[in-house]
Symmetry: C2
Subunit: 347 residues, 2 copies
C-alpha cells in the first residue's frame, strides 16, 4: 500500500501538506487539492487508523455515546465533538443508545476490550446504577452533560445551576412570582441543578411568596406540549414558564397556540439550550444558551489529555458557564393581558 | 460470559423477552425492566456484535457516512437510519466526513476490508469522481440523498425534481414570474433536480415571461444569508425566493430581516426539508417536506435486503415522494407592498 510520501511525490507537494490537508488543518487551492485527491485515488492510499494502531499500540479511535441524535442539543454536541476529534486526528465512532441499558454497557465494554481508546459518554435516563461499576472499570470514560452518580470518571457539565439561576432571576426581575417549570426531574443531574438554581433565584427575590409548579419528564417536544396543556387545564395561575430545553419550548408553544394564548402577552416563556433558531420565532424566545462548542472541545481534550493514572484527575468535575440571550418572550407581569389567571377566559 | 438464557432465568422471564427488550421491540413494566437490567449487570452479560460475528461470519455492523451532523436534515436522517438499524438488530457505526476525500475513501474501504457488513453513503460535495471506483468495488453500498455519478450502487433519493416542481407551481399559482432560487448548483444531484423541476413548473405557467435568478453554493445558513443579501444588493426585481434547505431559509430570513423586509408582505419565501419547526416562525414558512423517516427506513432495507449478486438490483434507483406543507410565507404577487422591486426603498 502506498504511503504518505508517495502520495506527496505524485501530487508534487510536501508530505506535511498532504498530512495537514487530510487532517483538515490546511485549505488548498483547487488545483492542488485535485492533484492530491488524484494521487490518493491513483495510489489507493489509505490513512487507516487500524493500520496505525498496529504500529503504535493505540487505535486513535474514540467513541462518543449519546442517547439520541435528533434533539438539536445532541446534534450540536456531537458536531462539536466530531470537529474537535478531527482536529486532534482522532477517528470518532458515534453510537446512539436510545437509552437501552444493554447498548450502553456494550459500548462501555469496548473501552475495556481495547476496541477504542476512550469514550465520551452521554446518557439521559435515570436508571444508571448498573453502569456505575462498568464506567469505573473502563477507566478512559468522560461523563458529559449528565451525571452517573457513583462512577469514578472525570465529568464535564454546563453550569446547570447557574443557568437555572439566570432564568429565575430574569423572570423575578419582570415580577413573575407564580411560575411553572417543565423539564427533567431531580433524578437527572441537569433537572435537579437547573431547578435548584431557578428556585434559589426566585426565593431570593420573593421569599415565601414564590409559587413554583413543577412538571417533570423528558426534554422532548411531546412532554413540553403535555405539561403545558396540564398547567392550562389545571387552571394554575402561572404568569411565566421556564422550559428546560429547546424542544420543550416548542412543545409549550404548541400548547399555548392551541389554547389561543400568546407569548408574552398572556404568559412569559424562557428556554434552555438555544440551539434552534429561536431568534426567528413568532416571538423571539429568550433562553439560556448552552456552551455547546466549548463542551465538545473540552470533552475531547479531557479524554485525550487526562493522566488516567492520577486518581485526582479521574475525579475532576468541570463546569462551563452559560449565558442568557435576552429576546422578547419575557414581559413584565404588570403588562399581562389578564392579571393572574391568563387562561381563565379560554377554558 | 453469561448468555441470554442465564439472564432470562435470573430475571424470571423468557429468553425471548430479554432478546426483544434488548433489541427495542418490547416495552416492559418498570419492575420487569429493573429485574432484567439487574440480571444483565450482575451476570456481566454482553450481547456483543463482535462475538456474534465470529459465530455467524457477519458483523451485524453497518456504517452510515454523512458529510455533517449539525444540519437539521442530516440529524433527522441519521436518527431515522439509526432507529431502523436498531429495529433490524444491526449495530450502526456513524461516521462524519466533513467532506474530506481521505475520510470517505477510508470508510468505503471498511466494507472491502469486512470491518462492516455494508454502508449507507451520503456525500454532498461535487468532487466525487475519485470515489466512483471505490464504491463499485465495495459493493454493499447504498447511495442516499446525493448521487455519485458512475458508481454502480443502488440509489435512494427523495423526489427532488417533483419537490422543485411543487415549489415552482406554488409560486406560479400566486403569480410570481420573477423569482430567485438559492441552493446547490447543477454539479449536485439535488441542486440540478430541484432546479429542473422548479424551472419546468415556472415555464409551464409563464412561458418566456419567466425570470429566474439562481445563486448556487452550499445548503448552509451562511450561504442563504449571503445569496439573499446579493439579490437585494443587485436590485433584482424578484418577488419570491425558493430556498433549497431549512438552513438556507434561516439565512434568507436573516438577510431579509436585516434589510427591513418582511415575508410575505415584501417578498414570498418557500423552503425545502421542513425539519426545523417552521410552523413557529414569525411567518410560518411554506416548504417542501422531505420524507426523512421513510428515507431512513428504506435505506436500511435496501442495504440489508438487496441481492448483491444481482446486477439489476445493484443499479436500482428509488425515489420517495415529497409533499408541500402550505403555511403563510407565500402571498399573491398582487398583494405585494411594493410592486416589482420590493427592496428599492431600502437601499
Amino acid at each position: 500500500m502506498a504511503n504518505l510520501k508517495q502520495v506527496a511525490e505524485r501530487a508534487g507537494v510536501s508530505s506535511a501538506t498532504v498530512s495537514r490537508y487530510l487532517n483538515g488543518s490546511l485549505s488548498l487551492p483547487e488545483a492542488t487539492r485535485s492533484a492530491v485527491d488524484a494521487a490518493i485515488a491513483d495510489l489507493n492510499y489509505r490513512p487507516n487508523p487500524f493500520a496505525r494502531s498496529l504500529s503504535r499500540g493505540r487505535t486513535d479511535l474514540i467513541r462518543m455515546v449519546v442517547p439520541e441524535i435528533k434533539a438539536p442539543f445532541f446534534a450540536a454536541l456531537v458536531a462539536a465533538v466530531e470537529n474537535e476529534a478531527f482536529l486532534r486526528e482522532q477517528e470518532l465512532a458515534l453510537s446512539v443508545t436510545l437509552n437501552r441499558p444493554g447498548r450502553e454497557s456494550r459500548y462501555l465494554d469496548s473501552v475495556s476490550d481495547r476496541h477504542v481508546d476512550g469514550l465520551i459518554f452521554v446518557t439521559n435516563h435515570p436508571d444508571v446504577a448498573p453502569l456505575t461499576g462498568r464506567i469505573t472499570a473502563a477507566r478512559r470514560v468522560v461523563l458529559l452533560d449528565e451525571d452517573v452518580p457513583g462512577a469514578i470518571a472525570p465529568r464535564l457539565f454546563c453550569d446547570n445551576d447557574g443557568g437555572g439561576y439566570l432564568a429565575g432571576a430574569h423572570l423575578a426581575a419582570h415580577g413573575h412570582a407564580c411560575v411553572a417549570v417543565i423539564g427533567a426531574g431531580d433524578e437527572m443531574h441537569s433537572g435537579a441543578e437547573r431547578f435548584r438554581g431557578f428556585s434559589r433565584a426566585m426565593t431570593e427575590a420573593f421569599g415565601a411568596d414564590v409559587q413554583i409548579t413543577r412538571k417533570s419528564g423528558s426534554y422532548s417536544r411531546e412532554d413540553g406540549e403535555r405539561h403545558c396543556r396540564e398547567i392550562l387545564a389545571e387552571g394554575l395561575p402561572v404568569t411565566a414558564i421556564f422550559a428546560m430545553s429547546d424542544e420543550l419550548v416548542i412543545g409549550a408553544l404548541d400548547a399555548l397556540m392551541a389554547a389561543g394564548l400568546s407569548v408574552p402577552a398572556d404568559v412569559s416563556l424562557i428556554g434552555f439550550d438555544d440551539i434552534l433558531p429561536l431568534d426567528h420565532f413568532a416571538t423571539p424566545i429568550t433562553a439560556i444558551r448552552q456552551p455547546v462548542e466549548a463542551l465538545g472541545v473540552r470533552a475531547v481534550s479531557i479524554l485525550l489529555d487526562t493522566d488516567w493514572e492520577d486518581p485526582a484527575a479521574r475525579r475532576r468535575v468541570e463546569i462551563l458557564p452559560v449565558t442568557l440571550v435576552d429576546r422578547s418572550s419575557v414581559a413584565s407581569v404588570a403588562s399581562l393581558q389578564t392579571a393572574t389567571d391568563p387562561q381563565e377566559e379560554h377554558r
